[in-house]
Structure formats: structure tokens, C-alpha cells
Symmetry: C2
Subunit: 216 residues, 2 copies
């Protein structure tokens, strides 16, 4: 790796760090790109070359965590699907837990600014799309449309577990382990412990009513 790439990585990180600093101090909306560029001692053009939008400054870390897990999943054709999906969840959570301050900062910013929130949610959906794509290639392809449908649902549920776990995890700092929550979620999923929409043509599937106690 030449000096060129080293410097590139350095300035990229410098810009992102300064951006987080300013966002935390003054809020996302009250920080201009010029201020960030000035703080990082680069020109605005340079900043835009690294980060195409102001939001990517905030979200790159989360995006990478998600993308890495999908990439890893694609490289594990031997693993069966349920274990693979569990591993994806664990990997993403592990990545996020490795930098809890930044994750919390991201969610704070998303709560304050609707554009950040929008791009964060967009990014999570793209993760779902990527994971679904990886899943399709692992499903029997004799009914492609059905396979796509199943892949979308399975990937969506996986995404949901991650999102719900992370939400609780950032809302209750220190009191819960993300991995523990994830395991609880998977247990609920596989044991029918969740109230799910039921098809009327499927007369007697296990159902919970409003008056039933929460499953243990």
C-alpha cells in the first residue's frame, strides 16, 4: 500500500471524525459542510469527493457493518440457512458493539434530523435487498418468483431482528447485551412466540389473542 492510499485513508477518517465532533456539538442541521471541511483542513471539493452527501458522513460506519456481514455470508455456501442468518445477525451486532458511542451518536442524529433518519432507514433496506439477493442464490430456482419472495421475507425478518435489537440496545445503554436480545428474538421467532398476521384460508394455526399473556 503506497503513500497515496495511506493519506487517503487518513484524510477520510479525519473528515468523518471532525464531522461527528461538530454534529455532536452543534447538531446536524446547524453544521455546514464548509465548517467540516475547514475543521478537517481540506477544501469542500475534497470533502465531497470522499463523501457524496452530508448524510454519508454519519452513516458510513453502519453501512460498512451491514455490508461486511452480507459479504461474509456470500462466502459461506456450506453453512445452512438458519445458521447463516444467525451468524449474519451476530456479526452485525458485534461490529456495532465494537463502537457503541458512534452507534448511539448515529441514532441520536437520526432522531434529530429527518434526512439522516431517512438515509439510515434506506441503508437498512438496502441491506435487506443485498441479503435477499444472496439468499435467492441459495434457494431452489425452479420457481424463481417464489424464491425471490421467500428470500425477501427471510431477509426482511433478519433485518427486523437486527433493527429491533439495536433499538432496544441503544435505548437502554448498559442494561442489555445485544447478542442476548438477538437470541431471545430468534427464540420467539422459531417457537411461535410472536403475534403474527394469520391467513384466513389457513384455519387453525397457533394464534394469540389480545387477552392471552405474553409468551414466556
Amino acid at each position: 500500500m503506497g503513500l497515496r492510499e495511506v493519506k487517503r485513508e487518513r484524510t477520510r477518517r479525519l473528515i468523518a471524525d471532525k464531522a461527528f465532533e461538530l454534529f455532536s456539538d452543534n447538531g446536524f442541521g446547524r453544521t455546514t459542510v464548509e465548517q467540516i471541511a475547514a475543521a478537517a483542513e481540506v477544501g469542500p471539493s475534497t470533502l465531497y469527493r470522499y463523501f457524496p452527501t452530508k448524510e454519508t458522513l454519519v452513516l458510513e460506519f453502519v453501512e460498512d457493518s451491514l455490508a461486511d456481514a452480507v459479504t461474509w455470508f456470500r462466502e459461506q455456501p456450506a453453512l445452512d440457512l438458519p445458521d447463516g442468518l444467525r451468524a449474519v445477525i451476530e456479526q452485525v451486532l458485534q461490529q456495532l458493539e465494537s463502537n457503541p458511542d458512534r452507534v448511539r451518536a448515529v441514532f441520536d442524529l437520526a432522531e434529530q434530523n429527518s434526512s439522516v433518519s431517512a438515509h439510515l432507514n434506506d441503508l437498512i433496506w438496502r441491506f435487506r435487498d443485498d441479503l435477499a439477493d444472496a439468499l435467492v442464490q441459495r434457494l431452489r430456482a425452479d420457481e424463481p418468483q417464489r424464491a425471490e419472495f421467500i428470500a425477501a421475507l427471510s431477509a426482511g425478518i433478519t433485518m427486523n431482528v437486527i433493527e429491533s435489537v439495536v433499538r432496544v440496545w441503544v435505548d437502554h445503554p448498559g442494561t442489555v447485551e445485544a447478542q442476548t436480545l438477538a437470541r431471545q428474538a430468534m427464540h420467539l421467532l422459531t417457537t411461535g412466540g410472536l403475534p403474527l398476521p394469520t391467513s384466513p384460508t389457513n384455519p387453525r394455526s397457533p394464534r394469540q389473542g389480545a387477552t392471552r399473556p405474553l409468551p414466556h
Copy 2:
């Protein structure tokens, strides 16, 4: 309802319709707000009073469809949860099917423009949040954190069914019924027909491997 409100509704609809026209003809990015305002024969200030951002011009219809369903759900405390969630899905799909052209246009625009896509996905998550909030009030509250978690997962799965169904439905126009797809999805969910992430502490739950055929 006085003349004032009639006019308000009329201009609001006029602006949104002209916007869709221009977006379809020239694309989202190549249409300026001033052009839309001019086409609707109002000043830009007026347009911004009705639609705070350019994206809301596109997404209001979908947003309303989702919000209406949640509102309806809140008003049905007698219905048990699985039936209620199914009804929510059916209502949203029915709303969207009532205006297929617009739905398709929305998804086209979302595919072309990343900001539209971001706001669309954001809106879907807000639906999940609202539905989860409604669900929490229907779950036993002696363990609030657990109830919130379960509500988030259930609402998330409901959201997923809707999203996956709509995706297939817009991608294969005319060949599938949205309601049929939804029923298939619910059947898959309640019969364990989907590959789901499994918890390792839950040793023998039904699982599908990569080599297992797709469930029927």
C-alpha cells in the same frame, strides 16, 4: 366545509397531480419545484406551504394509505392480534391497489432517485413504529421492555409482508394479486415455511438447510 377548505383541497390535489405529470415526463431530478408551481399556477411559497419537501409530493399517497390502516387498527380493540394484523395488511394493499398507476409511479421514482427511495423507506419504518406503538398497548404491560421488543418484531414482520408483497406486485404487473401474495406470505410465516435465523441455545427447532427443497 366552507369554500376555503374546498379550495385548499383543490389546489393541494392540483399541485400533486401536476408534480406527478412532470416527474413522469422529465424525471424527479430534472423537475424543479418552480416548474411544478408554475404548472399548477401557484407561487413556490404556496407549494411549500402544502408540501414541505419535494419528496412529500411523491409519497403522500403511500403515507396516507399506511397511516389510515394503523388508525383503523387502533380503533379495533376487540379484534385479536393475528386477525388485526392480517386486516392491516389487507387494508394497506387494498388502498394501494385502488390506485396502481400511482403506486407504480412512486416505485419508479424511488428507483431513479435515491432521496425518494430514502424517504419512502423512512415512511415504511414510521409505519412500523406506529404499528408497534399500537401493539404495545395491546400487550401485557408487566414487562414493558419485553412488550416493546415483541411489538417491534411483530410490527416489523407485518411491515415486511406488505413491502415484499408490494415489491413483487409492482415488478410483475397484472400477473399476481396482492392479496393472494399476502395470504401466501402469512401462510409461510405461520407454518414455519421460511428459513429463519435460529438461536444456538434452542437446539432442535425446525430448520431448513441449503439443500432442502423449498417448502410448498
